[in-house]
């Protein structure tokens, strides 16, 4: 691919803000009319959307399929869980600690993982994810092991509304998701982001052009980890509970599927994918025990008929 083929991509990225802002606006307006349960699901979708978007930086923009992305999400959630229960720390401390913990883990793991590519990258991120799972499961004095950390209180901020009721917390999570989306959208459109896309298309060509490919990939990895941690902080507050399930392989794989379903390389796509999966899981399973079958059918349908994801299908791009 020559630089020319990047231009339509830029156009596509340029279209995204309008749609996302409209969706967010509709959500803000509709939310007060919804009852508590759909609101909590929307909250969950907003938080998981941050996680999916952060993975998209790796998968969609840099071409690095990570199978251990839940690790950074979970590390941050654990940091919040431990600080908020055992040490009764406030929101700001927990947020900073969560982000630091996730960034630190991503910085160390990135050194190991970025050396590999393709299947080997998958394997190494999988293994590193398992290391974190092992820590969560076995370091009982710190993480309470399999039982998990329960009773994480909702943040107590100087706001006119209590974040323990569903509607304010939904707005809180939505604001976080919009913030993450804005920052990531700026990132992928910056020269740095364009370089990442160049690396995705052809590593050797970018190297020949004089770019430090390793450094770019490494930074993308750390940034993605930090944003996953951002999601993890809100996740801990949302559930009020952190357990090894949050860092396990299934969570990583599900995030990958969200990105693939929504459309890699289109921040809004993974966010949509996250919402679709959250709602499919929670609604279809109410009506039938065979909901996994339906979820599977949706995945297969998307891969066969819309290989670039649901959102990708709406956009005429180069291929």
């Amino acid at each position: 691919m020559t630089p020319v083929s990047l231009r339509p991509l830029l156009l596509r990225a340029g279209l995204a803000p309008v749609g996302t802002i409209v969706v967010a606006g509709v959500l803000v307006l509709v939310a007060p009319t919804l009852s508590a349960y759909p609101l909590t699901l929307l909250t969950q979708a907003a938080i998981v959307a941050i996680l999916a978007m952060s993975l998209d930086v790796l998968l969609g923009y840099t071409g690095l399929p990570s199978l251990g992305h839940a690790a950074y999400f979970g590390v941050a959630a654990y940091a919040v869980g431990i600080l908020a229960t055992d040490y009764q720390r406030g929101f700001v401390t927990c947020l900073v600690a969560g982000l630091l913990a996730a960034t630190l883990f991503a910085a160390v793991f990135g050194l190991l993982a970025i050396r590999a590519s393709g299947t080997y990258f998958l394997m190494i991120t999988l293994a590193l994810g398992m290391v974190v799972w092992g820590l969560a499961f076995r370091w009982v004095s710190m993480t309470k092991g399999d039982n998990g950390i329960a009773g994480v209180p909702r943040p107590d901020l100087p706001l006119p509304w209590s974040l323990s009721s569903p509607l304010p917390f939904f707005y809180f999570a939505l604001a976080a998701a919009l913030l993450a989306w804005t920052l990531l959208a700026l990132l992928v459109r910056s020269p740095f982001g364009l370089t990442l896309m160049g690396i995705r298309e052809s590593e050797s060509r970018m190297r020949a052009l004089g770019y430090n490919v390793w450094l770019h990939k490494y930074l993308a990895f750390v940034i993605a980890g930090a944003f996953a941690g951002f999601a993890g902080v809100f996740w801990a507050y949302y559930n009020g509970f952190v357990s090894p399930v949050d860092v396990q392989l299934v969570t990583s794989v599900e995030t990958l599927l969200m990105v693939a379903l929504g459309g890699p390389g289109t921040l809004a796509g993974p966010a949509l994918g996250a919402a679709v999966i959250v709602f499919l899981k929670n609604f279809v399973s109410v009506y039938t025990k065979r909901w996994l079958l339906i979820l599977g059918a949706v995945y297969i349908g998307v891969i066969l008929f819309a290989p670039r994801g649901v959102l990708g299908a709406f956009r005429r791009g180069p291929r």
Binding site: L34, S35, Y37, G151, F241, V245, N282, K289, V302
Partner: protein, 416 residues
């Protein structure tokens, strides 16, 4: 062409998503039936157990014609996938959208701990028929949750005393699954066994995803008098098989926590299970008319023999309906219903007489059971009944709760 098709499919996915979003907007019906929300893992590795739990519940509801105190009972079953986050979501749905009067069910300890703050926050009467994690009725008591099942270490305290009094085993090695359920089982046994003069000479913990027990079995100290094993489900089957293959069956007598030979796995075991002695608050072979009636009815309904999971949910549903009767069918009065749930005293459940302690845990019989072959199939023959066992056994509750929760390293293994 292909673009059109792609767009149609994408649009369909979006429409389906929109419909899913719109569905909860339907207002829930007001008044009328008493709604009971039931959580069980219906998919994933614990689906079989989840099915037993649903069958036990439905069996009791069918027997009473699905009504109590002149009101119909509506059972709403939700799948937890055995995951805390999903269980939380489904509980929110049951409480906030379906407006259930009672929330019940759940299998795994982490689900139990995750739901506890939500249930206490929502102030909805709830029962745990299966979740046995010690602290839910001990050091972190839940105000709105009544345990209709058991506490993990509850059968192990009297079992250890029974072993000291009735066998010559004084040095025991333990092997168990490496998580809280394993720690609390082995810990409860170790505490009493060592206080009464026995010795735990080795503690082996096996990862939950173990596929081969051979390396662990070869570590077992051969000079131990007996082995205490704690496994659940598939792992119990495999452990038994490999224990025999290692030539240990018959040489080192096998003791265990109740789930190791629970009826949910016992029919798939062979002669390798014979002679294993375990303790639990239920056995399918309890020889009382109530249990025989239940066991027969369950087998007719489910096509398999009754396990402790199915008895737990059967009795749990009876417990809930007795409480609803006690408040005259007014399930809307949540504090009254909770108080009634905490007062239930039933003399003739399938597992025997049940009353409840001040911390919300049943006081009930513990059965020491030995695997035997009767009429061609394996069963947990009851060889001793220890009546009215509390979760604190003979200890004073306050003093008991001052010691730490049983864990991987507590009580410490002094003779290892």
């Amino acid at each position: 062409m292909s673009h059109v098709r792609v767009r149609v499919v994408a649009a369909l996915v979006l429409v389906a998503f929109g419909l899913a979003l719109a569905a909860p907007l339907e207002a829930p019906a007001q008044g009328g039936p008493i709604k009971i929300g039931f959580l069980a893992p219906l998919t994933g590795p614990f689906a079989q157990v989840g099915k037993d739990m649903v069958n036990g519940t439905e069996l009791y509801l069918d027997e009473i014609g699905r009504q109590v105190g002149g009101r119909k009972i509506e059972l709403i079953v939700e799948d937890t996938e055995g995951q805390p986050a999903t269980a939380l979501n489904k509980s929110r749905k049951l409480v906030e959208q379906d407006k259930v009067h009672v929330l019940t069910g759940g299998l795994l300890a982490n689900v139990g701990y995750a739901l506890q703050p939500f249930i206490d926050g929502a102030q909805v009467p709830a029962t745990y028929p299966v979740i046995a994690a010690d602290d839910i009725t001990q050091r972190k008591p839940a105000r709105w949750i009544v345990r209709t099942g058991w506490t993990t270490s509850q059968p192990m305290h009297p079992f250890a005393e029974w072993v000291v009094k009735n066998t010559k085993y004084r040095k025991i090695a333990t092997i168990g699954m490496d998580y809280a359920f394993g720690y609390e089982t082995v810990g409860g046994f170790q505490r009493v066994f060592e206080e009464q003069g026995g010795q735990i000479v080795q503690k082996i913990w096996t990862p939950l995803n173990t596929n081969d027990f051979a390396p662990f079995l070869s570590q077992l100290k051969r000079d131990a008098d007996a082995v205490l094993a704690l496994f659940v489900g598939r792992l119990a089957l495999q452990f038994m098989k490999q224990y025999q293959e290692a030539g240990l069956h018959g040489k080192m007598p096998l003791l265990g926590g109740g789930t190791t030979t629970d009826e949910s796995v016992l029919p798939q075991m062979g002669d390798e299970a014979l002679g294993t002695i375990t303790a639990l608050h239920y056995s399918q072979a309890i020889d009382t008319p109530q249990n025989q009636k239940f066991a027969k009815a369950f087998e007719a309904k489910a096509g398999k023999i009754s396990s402790y999971y199915s008895e737990a949910t059967y009795t749990n549903m009876r417990w809930i309906t007795e409480a609803i009767k006690a408040v005259g069918g007014k399930a809307e009065d949540r504090p009254a219903l909770l108080a009634a749930l905490r007062k239930v005293d039933i003399k003739d459940t399938a597992r025997g007489p049940i009353s409840i302690d001040a911390h919300g845990n049943p006081i009930q019989n513990i059965y020491v059971r030995k695997v035997e072959r009767v009429g061609g199939r394996l069963q947990n023959t009851v060889i001793a009944t220890i009546p009215a066992v509390s979760q604190f056994w003979k200890y004073k509750p306050d003093e008991y709760m001052k010691q730490p929760l049983y864990s991987r390293d507590y009580p410490p293994c002094k003779a290892c």
